[in-house]
């Protein structure tokens, strides 16, 4: 693997990690919101 290819792989892994992190953060917020919604609706 050439240095350019290695750089490209790293850049792609970095962007995927960033997107995965953002999605996980969004899921945390969603689960929190679902919990609040169910509690307020009296389903919990």
């Amino acid at each position: 693997m050439t240095p350019e290819e290695r750089e490209l792989v790293r850049a792609r892994q970095k962007s995927r990690s960033l997107v995965t992190g953002l999605l996980l953060g969004a899921l945390v917020l969603l689960f929190f919101a679902i919990a609040i919604a169910k509690i307020s609706a009296g389903h919990a």
């Binding site: 290819e5 792609r12 892994q13 962007s15 969603l30 679902i34 169910k38 307020s40 609706a41």
Partner: protein, 306 residues
Amino acid sequence: MASSPIMAGSAAPSLPAHWRDFVALTKPRVMTLVVYTGLAGLLAAPGSIHPVLAFTAILCIALGAGGAAALNQWCEADLDAKMKRTANRPLPAGRMDRQSALHFGVGISVFSVILLGTATNWLAAAILAVSILFYILIYTIWLKPRTAQNIVIGGAAGAFPPVIGWAAVTGDVSALPVALFMLTFFWTPPHFWALALFVKTDYAAAGIPMLPVVSGEVVTRRQIWFYTAVMAVAAMAPVLLRLTGVFYGTVALIGTAIFALFAFQVYRRRENDPARMAPERRLFKYSILYLFLLFGAVVVDRWIFA
């Protein structure tokens, strides 16, 4: 998900797939219609649902559709590589390995079902699971490579979203969501075969037994007209059964009359050259608008005129 050279029939990628390719795997454009009909089913349902839970239900419908699309492409990577229309998808283009697509498809499918069951109810989740399994097992694996009528029965998979949206609110399935299911079910053949008429050569190259390839364009045009007639009955059923009001009835009557006019023009034509199929393209484009209009009319009817 590191790439591994396990692909059959297409080039193995040397790079990890870009995140945009995972998005492309979910067929976002197809998902638009699925989300819209699911949302219409949810909004048309009696009763109320917390906005967060409604958002979650629609998100799950979208994720389920995306997962099914990813698994469909995992199954058909070799066929997609043979068709100009699909050759640039992540798998046939060699931008992603098959194992990543499989993991992604199964992952978001299972996640969507569990999340929907937890956030709303398990009836809605069960219908979502059935729709995903139906699309993969019945349509993609069983019917599509075997029969020219594949889209007629397989189209049921795309008809489930309004039922799921409805069930997410009410916890049951009554006459109106079944009517909306039937409308989408009978809408699918004329919609899809209009497309198949002008991409016939693509399907022939891949060996997929689509109706224009197996039975010819004359039979396909006749079948488009026949299913348009059946779809017209399904479109008027909600108002005839008094499940919706006059507003929906008016939109359905005018919209279906235009659909029938376009379908009749397609039925009367004898044209083999895809480059000269303007009426077929018009029917295909209008069929999408038609479904948007009718589902929108159901919601407006239930919210404003009910």
